[in-house]
Subunit: 338 residues, 2 copies
């Protein structure tokens, strides 16, 4: 159907090999022949068949990305940064969503592996490392994004989650909060790290910890708003009531703020709130939301560069862990009189 090298070779009275060499810029081709071939290629708008090339070279020039949720701005930005870096090196990106479902994720890994991608990047929702072993068996380089696994020496790019928790909590402390609650995320390394940072900060600054002050958001990637909303209603029923809340992410924080306002209390007057993610619209919310910036785009970019280097490397290098440093973006929701 489409034009092939064979067509061009025949028309020009050359061999396929010669055409192939012109395409790949081999030096051992006569100047005139090269021009003739190039000319015909333009005219016919010939495009080499990547599937065929991949079959013999073993390289597909494409990479895979699996995320729990494409609509989540964090992952969208990671994907965007990644796509940007890969495009420049002529790589294509296959993206698939696991919908936060470990089984689906395993399926997607299988699917992508059977496409013989040059590399895989996964923001995993798994509990076990079994899937990753399988990837290793196939000798496909892979990079874990955002969520790390203890005891799995794999390439990783993400933000320093303990620092996230610490920064957020210290920010609340320095805003004068004394009773700081935390609505944590699901049992992934991100949530664990942020919780740990929260605890460290409280301990380090001698801030009391109250019973019931750490709640689990029902779900983190989907429907976070109602998760935060519900959790905050529980927190409001506690005695003493918190005067600061550190939320696992911004959508949760929005739900939290809405719950506080519905209860007739003020943000930050009665309760200060900080989220995580620094979403674009944070500054335009009912109460502009203080947040921890996770460098989403940078994560994608670094992951892209790492993956490219892994593909180039002939032998698998020592797994590398890239931790980006988060930063606080203070806004109205934590602006309290000192």
């Amino acid at each position: 159907m489409a034009v092939t090298m064979k067509d061009i070779a025949r028309e020009l009275g050359l061999s396929v090999v010669t055409v192939s060499k012109v395409i790949r810029n081999h030096t051992d081709i006569g100047a005139e022949t090269r021009q003739r071939v190039l000319k015909r290629i333009k005219e016919l708008n010939y495009q080499p068949n990547m599937a065929a090339r991949a079959l013999v070279t073993g390289r597909t020039y494409s990479a895979g990305l699996i995320v729990p949720d494409l609509v989540h701005p964090f992952f969208a930005e990671v994907a965007s940064g990644l796509s940007d870096v890969l495009r420049r090196k002529n790589y294509s990106l296959l993206i698939s969503s696991s919908e936060g479902d470990p089984d689906l994720e395993r399926q997607e890994i299988k699917r992508l592996l059977s496409r013989r991608l040059d590399a895989l990047m996964i923001a995993s929702t798994q509990w076990t490392v079994e899937s990753f072993r399988r990837i290793e068996e196939q000798k496909v380089p892979y990079v874990l994004l955002d969520r790390a696994f203890l005891g799995l020496p794999a390439n990783f790019v993400g933000v320093d989650e303990i620092a996230v928790g610490r920064l957020a909590t210290e920010h609340l402390i320095s805003a004068g909060c004394q009773r700081i609650a935390h609505i944590r995320g699901p049992a992934a390394s991100t949530a664990v790290g942020r919780l740990e940072g929260y605890r460290q900060a409280l301990a380090h600054h001698d801030v009391s910890q109250f019973r019931g002050y750490v709640l689990a958001g029902r779900s983190a990637d989907v429907d976070s708003w109602s998760s935060g909303h519900e959790a905050m209603k529980k927190l409001l029923a506690l005695t003493p009531r918190p005067d600061g809340v550190f939320c696992y992410n911004d959508p949760i924080a929005i739900g939290v703020i809405d719950a506080i306002l519905e209860a007739g209390l003020r943000v930050p007057g009665d309760i200060a709130v900080i989220g995580c993610g620094n979403l674009h619209f944070d500054k335009s919310l009912r109460v502009p939301l203080s947040s921890v910036d996770q460098q989403s785009r940078a994560i994608g970019e670094r992951a892209g560069k790492l993956v490219l280097s892994l593909i180039e490397a002939k032998v698998a290098p020592q797994p590398k862990s890239i931790m980006l440093q988060p930063s606080i973006v203070p806004r109205e929701s934590t602006r309290r009189p000192q």
Copy 2:
């Protein structure tokens, strides 16, 4: 490197053909042989090489999506709906971003074509239809998303843009607005349609049109906020001042609202604002934002189904245009005393 059919065949003393047939569930295989093969496949965790299969069948079981901006929630949701539909049929999705740049978009189309994808979906930022001619030459089915081209009889899935403009404007009219401005988007069919709907509604309801009341947002996909913010400052300088603004999208509307509030005016008290896109956080904004819902996810799903049917069809069917109907989601930003 990876396990191949040949390996399995050799180990089992069978031919590659037999193994291949088992994998594709051919009926003409002995029950016992089938079991043996299946067993070994599981044990070795064999995955067929899709590139090789594609080379002979001509079908890659993958589709491409090109959008101007992955981070834009509209496109993220389209991608998500699409990905969902395609996954169920064992298709993979290659996503690439054109960054709103027509040249980059053309490049991406070339790149994806050379991967021999089974279908392409494009939310285009082009001015000309040249690229699409090229796709047609290669006989790859394609679907235009969101943005249509006059005089290009291509498959299309999007929302009825004239209805979007009409609904939004009529909503402002019924909220009591008399001087309605419009901040339009870039020169794509979406913006043209919404503007047309806006004009139709004003004319139909005998609402006056003022000079300078239609402004172009500087850019629509990137940095919309500041675009809306700037445009609104210009509108505020006009006499008479608008009492209602219909914005091309929600981020613009957020910038608009911020500009109004900064000027010491109230929303909706002095000026009502409606956006377009119905983003998740609209209800949690400083002023909860009324918006037109574009059915982003449904667009992705319908496009996915359409594309699957195009792939199945042996002969290219008559191009089909699927127009989804938008709906108003009223919130605080247009709640005015009648």
